[in-house]
């Protein structure tokens, strides 16, 4: 969700040194606006519930935006502006925690969990795949599938007989489809 925003953040990260360099020279008003919006989207509005400074219409959030703009115009880098807000409001003000110290957990744990889950899964799949297909189970399963072949009643009108079917030219694709129907109808 809001994929683009996530990406902007990533890019903002990557683009940091460049931005810092550019700040030495005078920035155009449009550039300042752009940077202000990007920064404001990363800061939490103190008087709202879970809105960013960019989104909030509250007086404080709007003043914070103009603080951001003034500081950027005065030649501060986005990082310095962020650091200013952190020094006043604490890390709470950042909508995305800085990836350092204990905060690393919230970035690394999901990835670790995903990898661990994938590892377990691969092991399990190997086990499943290597175990001989249990003949008895297969037969039982097939029987259930076929007993579900009332399905066939839904696929073909009741009057349909073997002879009728065989008269039709069934492509391989159709056959697959019928087989699929039998399985998926329950």
């Amino acid at each position: 969700m809001r994929a683009a925003l996530g990406l902007i953040c990533l890019l903002a990260f990557a683009a940091r040194p460049a931005v810092a360099g550019a700040a030495q020279e005078a920035l155009s008003a449009a550039e300042i606006d752009q940077m202000t919006a990007e920064l404001a989207a990363q800061l939490r509005c103190p008087v709202c519930r879970n809105q960013s400074v960019l989104e909030s219409s509250s007086g404080l959030a709007r003043e914070m935006q103009s603080v951001i703009r003034d500081r950027l115009s005065a030649g501060e880098t986005p990082d310095e502006v962020k650091a200013y807000f952190v020094s006043r409001y604490g890390d709470w003000i950042l909508l995305r925690p800085e990836p350092k110290g204990i905060n690393l957990v919230v970035y690394l744990l999901p990835a670790a969990a995903l990898l661990a889950g994938a590892g377990l899964l691969v092991r399990q799949i190997r086990r499943w795949a290597s175990s001989e297909t249990d003949l008895e189970a297969t037969v039982a399963e097939t029987q259930t599938a076929v007993s579900q072949a009332t399905a066939e009643a839904n696929v073909a009108p009741a009057s349909q007989t073997e002879a009728d079917l065989s008269r039709k030219a069934l492509s391989e694709e159709d056959e697959e489809w019928i087989r699929e129907q039998i399985g998926s109808l329950r």
Binding site: P46, V47, G59, L60, E63, M64, S66, V67, V86, S87, R88, Y89, G90, D91, W92
Partner: protein, 179 residues
């Protein structure tokens, strides 16, 4: 799932439940401040009576710096406690100073006329000083020691007990360092 060890599975969620239980014990409205213990941010602002006042003018005094607005209901509630503070403490030693937060001076004057109180309030156009102090909303109060450091911060309406406790502890620390 084999063996007696499997009976340990049901207690796996205990840490999560414990964490949530911890969550219930605290007040989400109370936010720790990043600037407690730091020197107060500098300011130079016009007062409501037309003078101007800077942080350096407050050197040597304990300051109860109260961010407020006339439209803020809890500010009315805490007002008597501030009045009592001005009556109790020696003016040269402990001073109450208001900072007007997103409000019009005329309305603030009416508020002071109606509810009483003699202390000065400075205007904060652009809310810059409030942002400098990391204010979340009003009322919010900072206790500055004589060196201009922020000793405490209180979010929400004050009462006399809070003021007394904070001022006393600042006085105690200063007494200890003086002797």
């Amino acid at each position: 799932m084999k063996g007696a060890g499997r009976w340990l599975i049901p207690i796996l969620p205990v840490p999560v439940i414990g964490l949530l239980a911890f969550g219930l014990t605290r007040d989400v409205q109370v936010l720790p401040s990043a600037i407690v213990g730091e020197p107060a941010p500098d300011f130079h602002l016009a007062t409501m009576s037309g003078d101007s006042l800077a942080l350096e003018d407050l050197a040597g005094e304990i300051v109860i710096l109260n961010f407020w607005a006339s439209w803020c209901i809890p500010c009315r509630q805490e007002h008597p406690a501030l009045v009592r503070a001005t009556e109790t403490y020696d003016p040269g030693k402990v001073r109450v100073l208001g900072v007007l937060y997103q409000d019009e001076p005329s309305k603030a004057k009416r508020f002071m006329d109606r509810f009483g109180g003699e202390w000065e309030t400075v205007l904060d156009p652009g809310t810059r000083t409030a942002i400098d102090f990391g204010v979340y909303g009003v009322p919010e109060t900072f206790f500055l020691n004589a060196d201009g450091q922020i000793a405490y911060k209180h979010i929400g309406p004050l009462n006399w007990g809070i003021i007394e406790a904070k001022v006393d502890s600042i006085l105690a620390v200063e007494g200890a360092t003086a002797s």
